[in-house]
Each structure stands twice: as structure tokens, then as C-alpha cells.
């Protein structure tokens, strides 16, 4: 199942700089996209989301951009902090209504160096 892809398995950035995590999808029927952060031995924690009718959503240091024509979304973290070091999953909602299943990407491991 390659409907949601995160092509970069890992990313390393310096503290204070911008982190950009990317995600591509193939199904144009996805209507809602989410980013989750996951620390070892914990479950995915919801970070930020975006509806398919928008192209940007911002929450503090986190901004998600959606390019529907390219079927691409990205998560920007600025400034990056060492505590942001985690695995980041992109997910897309599949199905009708607000309760459809989530399709996940493979995850990108972000390391923020002090």
C-alpha cells in the first residue's frame, strides 16, 4: 500500500533552524491530512492537521502546507528544538465523513542537534 509516502527515512537539523518534512500521496479522494509525532515506546501523538480545502495551517512553531495539484504536503518546524527529535508520521483520512480510517506514511526520523 503506497498511497501515502514519506521518501526521507531520516532528517538531521541544527537547533534553531527549520525542519521540513515531506509527504506525497496518490489518492485524490483523501480529504484530511494529519501529522503525528512518535517517541519511542509511546503511541503517535497528534500534532497538526489540514483539510483538503486549505493550503496552509499554522499552530505555533508548526505549519503544514498542502499542494493538492502535486499531491504533496509538508510540515515545517521553526525554530527546531532538541525536544522535537522523534519519528514524524504523515497520515491521510480515507472514507466518507469525519471518521474514516487513516492511511500512514512510513515515517521520518527527525534529529535536532543542540
Amino acid at each position: 500500500d503506497q498511497q501515502v509516502k514519506q521518501n526521507s527515512p531520516s532528517l538531521s537539523v541544527q537547533e534553531g533552524r527549520i525542519s521540513i518534512l515531506n509527504c506525497d500521496y496518490t489518492n485524490s479522494m483523501f480529504d484530511y491530512f494529519l501529522w503525528y509525532k512518535k517517541y519511542p515506546a509511546e503511541g503517535p501523538t497528534f500534532l497538526i492537521s489540514i483539510s483538503s480545502i486549505k493550503d496552509k495551517n499554522e499552530d505555533g512553531r508548526f505549519t503544514v502546507f498542502l499542494n493538492k495539484s502535486a499531491k504533496h504536503l509538508s510540515l515545517h518546524i521553526v525554530p527546531s528544538q532538541p525536544g522535537d527529535s522523534a519519528v514524524y508520521f504523515c497520515a491521510a483520512r480515507h472514507g466518507s465523513g469525519n471518521t474514516g480510517k487513516l492511511i500512514f506514511g512510513q515515517g521520518t526520523t527527525l534529529q535536532v542537534k543542540p
Binding site: A41, G43, F46, G95, G97, N98, I103, F104
Partner: protein, 114 residues
């Protein structure tokens, strides 16, 4: 902040035995989900549940699996006659079903089949 809780955190079982994984969703949530993540693979959807019925299930969720909400707070996943390939992290999630509300995940149960 309300959270989804899962027990046990780690379950070791002999192949062929039955296991029950337990979840307490967030109290005002009405939609419940099970996902799993086999080591090194994506998080994948198993089943969604609403109003005491399965809403959707994946191809993985065959007759070996069942879900139940035995009371007002617990949501369980039963796996009968476990196989080696059932070894994975199992995540429970819940949502309130509101417009573009995210699913919130528990910390998972690591299931090891010997």
C-alpha cells in the same frame, strides 16, 4: 489532558493461544479504532467501531480477530489462535467524530508471539 490508555504494555503469548488487548478510549469519544505496526513497517488500519458495530475493517481483520465494547469504558481486540506474524505493536485510537477532529492514540501493546 484526556488520553487513550492501553493494557498490557507488553504481552507475550504462545502461538495458537488467544489474547485480548484492552483499551480505554477518551471518555466522550464515540469512534474507536485498532491499528497495528509490524516492526519496520507502516502503521496499518485494522478496524473501526461505532455504536457497537464494526464500521469498517481491513483485509487483515479476518475471522481470527474480533472487537468488543463490553461496558461503557473498555474497547477490546481479541485475537484467536495467534500466529507468529501477529507479533506487532497494536494501537488503539478514538475520536469524537466531530468535523475534522483527529484520532488520538494510546501508547500501544507490544504483542510477542513465541
Amino acid at each position: 489532558e484526556p488520553e487513550v490508555t492501553q493494557t498490557p504494555s507488553h504481552q507475550v503469548t504462545q502461538m495458537g493461544q488467544e489474547v485480548i488487548l484492552r483499551c480505554v478510549p477518551i471518555s466522550n469519544h464515540l469512534y474507536f479504532y485498532w491499528y497495528r505496526q509490524i516492526l519496520g513497517q507502516k502503521v496499518e488500519f485494522l478496524v473501526s467501531f461505532y455504536n457497537n458495530e464494526i464500521s469498517e475493517k481491513s483485509e487483515i481483520f479476518d475471522d481470527q480477530f474480533s472487537v468488543e465494547r463490553p461496558d461503557g469504558s473498555n474497547f477490546t481486540l481479541k485475537i484467536r489462535s495467534t500466529k507468529l506474524e501477529d507479533s506487532a505493536m497494536y494501537f488503539c485510537a478514538s475520536s469524537d467524530g466531530g468535523y475534522n477532529q483527529p484520532q488520538h492514540f494510546g501508547d500501544g501493546t507490544r504483542l510477542s508471539i513465541l
